[in-house]
Symmetry: C2
DNA sequence: CGTGCGCTTGAGATACTTCAATGCTAGTGG
DNA sequence: CCACTAGCATTGAAGTATCTCAAGCGCACG
């Protein structure tokens, strides 16, 4: 693995910076790290099929989702450059969801069994991977709040604001106008809404000159207004590089004494 | 720590069985493990206040929840005997949620910093705690599906069925009739509904002779009917003792080719 | 013996869904 | 190069699951 690729990897996955570059190179060597390309709609992971690779997404977008027997779909996460495809794979051979490429993607794939061995010998790596899992857990719980207790415009505004923050943080996009390959059905299945309703809410945001979404491109005209709709403050936008025990994000400011 | 307490701990937390009893005793000693009692409505963890203890719930019920600034509440998890109170604490000093006792509770509390040190020296403990975190992640994602894509009767039926399965699995209850200290507002805040609507759905379940819930006690008259309402099969009821890389639960049987 | 919390129920409101039709664009085959 | 098709976005109209508001009731607690 050449120096340039290594730098690109660390830039997208700042957590790896807590390893020395020697340790990281060793880890990549031991796990047979290689880059893999997938085309749009390719499956990266299939529900029920043993997962052999641990992947770090380098470019492109993907979705991780579940489909119920009657066809209802819930998208659990969108994967963008800097995302780990499937943290679960480190402790589960078979996972109950699928991951599918939305655009063409590039990822760094490591052999899982080798990774587990390598990590167990390297305490710093252990901490890193625990923190990654913990981050995904917090993220899932944040989404639970959104799915359970927010209305449509909040859900959609938050989704857009958070994706923007993430892409901005990882250096993938600069301005609040960028490639946005998600279809309205993706947004619907991530927020628990109907694509028809998503369409109406997007129209509302467009009419208010807040966000326009067209032909795979999004333009955020008024970030403050978007945050207003999203019920977010600017500091909630920051993506915290979660170091072990270093996180101190507080979501809600005031907490009424809850019943019972 | 006497032998009886140790046995009780391992019975409630079968994961600990992958450590030798010597290793476990050593771990408990190093972390200053002690039992702590809380009264109903006591806070076990407060949002924004540094978490010092890692707790294993031995008896009683608790909720882990978030309250939004305008008062909307989302319950993230119910804690019952055999639950870890807050897995996040191993990598976050401060967490964005609170944990509050519902009934009187008893828990085994360990010092977190000591636990982190002890675990990093013991690969088997490392695996155990990673698996615990992974279990919570899968659980949260399962709840995301419910919150996003299921209707009221499915949500409530699933909640009841899963709590029963968990309590049964850990040996806390025998028959499908047991202490159930949750108020209707708890159920509402866990499922993203209103307590008024929860009331109507419970009435529906009562009228159908499926479940009765009264005075802190629940009786499941017809488990098969409940599972029908819950859109669950009997094998989904089983709580898998997730060993590292040993999990193979598949939630959905058929998966239509999803759009895009 | 009041007071408060939780359960219950009715009536009316609404956020979101379902159904259905139209149009646009890109890809495909002839 | 054009006709044909499929997928996606858009919009209207009608339906419904769930919410809001409001009132009454029972029980536990001080």
């Amino acid at each position: 693995m050449d120096k340039a690729t290594l730098d690109r990897l660390v830039a997208l996955f700042p957590r790896f910076a807590s390893m020395s570059s020697g340790e990281l190179e060793e880890l990549l060597r031991k796990t047979g790290a290689r880059t893999v390309k997938d085309k749009p709609r390719d499956y990266i992971i299939r529900k029920g099929v043993p997962v052999q690779e641990f992947s770090c997404l380098l470019s492109g977008w993907a979705t991780r989702y579940v489909v119920l027997p009657d066809g209802r779909r819930q998208i659990l996460a969108f994967k963008t450059p800097g995302s780990f495809i499937c943290v679960h794979a480190l402790c589960m051979k078979v996972v109950p969801f699928s991951v599918q490429a939305v655009t063409a993607t590039e990822r760094l794939a490591m052999d899982i069994e080798a990774l587990i061995d390598a990590v167990s010998e390297l305490p710093v790596a252990n901490q890193i991977f625990y923190a990654i899992g913990c981050h995904d857990l917090s993220d899932a719980e944040d989404k639970m709040i959104g799915l359970g207790r927010r209305d449509a415009i909040e859900k959609i505004s938050r989704l857009i604001a958070k994706l923007y923050a993430r892409l901005h943080e990882t250096g993938v996009v600069e301005k609040p106008a960028f490639e946005f390959p998600l279809r309205q059905t993706h947004i619907a299945d991530a927020t628990g809404l109907t694509s028809v309703h998503v369409n109406r809410i997007l129209k509302q945001l467009r009419m208010a000159h807040v966000v326009t979404l067209d032909k795979g491109r999004i333009v955020i005209h008024d970030l403050d207004a978007l945050l207003e709709f999203a019920d977010m403050t600017r500091d909630e936008l920051e993506v915290y590089p979660i170091l072990p025990r270093g996180w101190s994000r507080i979501t809600d400011k005031t907490e009424k004494l809850p019943p019972t």
